[in-house]
Symmetry: C2
Subunit: 292 residues, 2 copies
């Protein structure tokens, strides 16, 4: 392996068919690219090699029974045919903004409204992500870039978390909506990777998703990415507020998205190995715990 300086028995290869044939693996942890067509083909390739699959790759496949149901169906059929299990998971989707709120509705006698709030510090990200989020642009440049598609294509158009919650608690939502708003900085900022922005420029993005029924937003998910949020008086945290009988007000500090994503995928291995063949969502399997 590169940099280790000795053979450690780990195959590194860009030829998946070769690796799948040699490794005779029980399970593939899949974390590659993002285009749906590519990811679907990769997953089905692993499934046809007889491997169970846990993937963190594709927001759009996290709840395939609403979005991209054809991809979901093809993966489900291939998994059943090959006697293996497929799960898409991570921290979001796959945990904090779908599984956690669903689980906490379970201690409510009734639910009227759910509000989710995720505030992330994006200062550790590289310039690729920051440029795509429009960091450093003026507000008018941001709006123009969003409209012509030159920025913002990593901002998901749909929000599978909202559909998963709605289905879990039996709400038939009429529609989901998205509103994207740039956030501007009070002062000049600099990231650890050297991206500099001036005061008044875009320093983050708030993208809000609404699960609407009868004209009312019953589920709201505010997803806020900010460069050095503490300098803007904002606290990085994940929050889930459920209005119902009784209310739930849950706040999580310190949750690390990077660690959380790979840990949740790895820790789900026993659950996936014990599940029936097919494509599963996190709410259909027992919860994953840290492996020893």
């Amino acid at each position: 392996m590169a940099g280790v300086g000795r053979k450690i028995g780990v195959i590194v290869s860009d030829n998946p068919d070769d690796v799948l044939a040699k490794a005779k693996a029980n399970l593939v942890l899949h974390a590659t690219s993002s285009p749906l067509s590519e990811v679907e083909a990769q997953i089905i390739n692993c499934v046809e090699a007889g491997c169970n699959v846990i993937s963190i790759a594709e927001v759009r496949l996290a709840y395939p029974w609403v979005h991209n149901s054809e991809s979901g169906q093809r993966i489900d059929e291939a998994a059943k045919k090959n006697g293996v299990t497929v799960l898409f998971t991570g921290i979001n989707p796959g945990f904090m903004m779908d599984l956690v709120p669903i689980m906490f509705t379970g201690v409510c006698a009734s639910v009227r409204k759910i509000t989710l709030w995720r505030l992330l510090d994006i200062s550790p990200y590289g310039s690729g992500v920051l440029n795509n989020l429009g960091v450093g642009l003026s507000v008018s440049e941001f709006e123009k870039g969003l409209a012509d598609g030159s920025i913002g294509w990593i901002l998901p158009l749909t929000c599978p978390q909202i559909d998963m919650i709605g289905d879990a608690i039996g709400w038939k939502l009429d529609e989901t909506k998205r509103i994207v708003k740039p956030l501007t900085s009070n002062k000049p900022k600099k990231t650890s990777y050297g991206v500099e922005i001036g005061a008044g420029k875009v320093c983050g993005v708030k993208w809000s998703y609404f699960g609407i029924k009868g004209g009312e937003a019953l589920i709201t998910f505010d997803w806020i990415h900010v460069l050095h949020p503490k300098e803007e008086g904002l606290e990085p945290e994940d929050r889930c507020f459920i209005e119902g009988e009784s209310d739930i007000d849950l706040v999580v500090k310190k949750l690390d998205s990077g660690v959380g994503t790979y840990a949740h995928a790895v820790n789900a291995i026993p659950q996936v190995m014990q599940a029936r063949p097919g494509l599963f969502t996190v709410r259909e399997l027992p919860v994953a715990a840290a492996l020893p």
Copy 2:
């Protein structure tokens, strides 16, 4: 039904055999008394009548594979023989201090230590519970009552939550310990049910459980019941702190234990109806969501 003034088709009876024979129920929601022998016999009676059972009744059966494993085995065998599923659940045990921390270890790459904190306002409780907790006694009367068993018998000696967490994340704990401490009031207090206590008297109890390995408390659960905690500068809340990679700091405000217990039992019905026959713990089934 008493007080309704008309027939609503609900049978109220103190003869369970009679009800079980007439109702031909698929599932029994069991919430009766507490002595283990009585509860076990009641559950097995329901199971032998062909009913799935969800029970909130018995802390000591919440994790029967460590505590009371003989009772657990008898219930498990009877359930399998009769093709039904049994689950003990509620808010605690069954959710906040076992399922929630287990689930949040699932987004950690490693776990070093888990600290749980549950601070409850006991002012809505009746005099039976408050007397048993020693509320209103002096500290020396409390210590004497605890030693001779005249108070404190509702304070669990064991903590199935700790064992369930330990097993879930693969820690082989050496032992669990309990320490009970009375809390005294700064000023006179009165409950809604008319219980009055003087300043300096016992106004609550902190019972702490420790899951110990190699001489170190790896899991600590502080369970604090206080009369009007805000008057003592204490905030009612549930907290779960996980030290690991990465840390998790989770706080839940407003969680209502009464509503949470019955809601979690009712909301688990679909999970129990779909499970294999046998005795299950909450961590073996998919999470329960609010029913529509």
